[in-house]
Amino acid sequence: MRRLAALGILLAAIAAAAQDNSYEASPGLMLPKGLVLFYNNRAPLSYATLTPRDVPADAVQLGEVRGKSCQYGVAVPLTASLTATSVSGASGDGGYWKAIEKITQAHPDITGIYDVKVDVHLISFLGFIQRTCVEVLGRGFRWSPPNPSSPQ
């Protein structure tokens, strides 16, 4: 009965982790493994994205834009065993800001993005090498506020 309860708690935790509001803090740090020798990662936490209502009516649509930022991790087992302790290191900037920076570098005239979808791209090989990327996909727009000094 205790084993079933523990399994049920694990299932609930996994299900809960799959659903979160993007404006609530939800750290996306890569999990360290074993003995951590070096850890220097930046990861997504929260992002209150724009919706179409937030876009000014006279904004110029720039179409679909995307940006990506990644964290990298390496874990080396100390012995040739499935339960061996490993030494690991992780580095990278996989945060929202880096992903948005990539978008602004590709579109220097962009003002903002809306209708944003955020996905996580995970690549892992035997647990030795892992790359976790945040992919931001949205619709870009360009807008300049009206000049207050111009005559009406």
């Binding site: 084993r3 523990a6 399994l7 694990l10 299932l11 996994i14 299900a15 799959a18 659903q19 979160d20 509001n21 993007s22 404006y23 939800s26 996306g28 997504p44 992002y47 209150a48 994205t49 919706t51 179409p52 209502r53 876009v55 209708d115 944003v116 979808k117 955020v118 996905d119 996580v120 791209h121 995970l122 690549i123 892992s124 090989f125 035997l126 647990g127 945040v134 992919e135 996909l137 619709r139």
Partner: protein, 116 residues
Amino acid sequence: MRIHLLPSLILAAAILSGCGLVYTNIHSPRGYRSATPADVKVAPDDPTVTGRSCSRAILYTVAWGDSGYAAATARALEGKPGLILYDVKSDIKVTAIGLGLYTEVCTIVTGKAGRP
């Protein structure tokens, strides 16, 4: 047969996370602040559309696929350029067969397509 708790929990996590113990290359959903009817130009004939994106894992070893929001919304809006999803309901569907020997994790988005 004695079942060890910790390996069982790890195996359950591997099955339900959709990851492979040897090789993993998956996209998974993280966040999507979808539009509401107040955000778009609602029309009474706006179609209801649905899109699904899935990642899969086999034999607990290899996992691949794209179950992210971007792929699901793109499939929902296939053939409808310039439209945007609103009033979106997102679901996750997990299928595991044979104690998780084959696992499929899908993101399903259902909503209406309207003009932004």
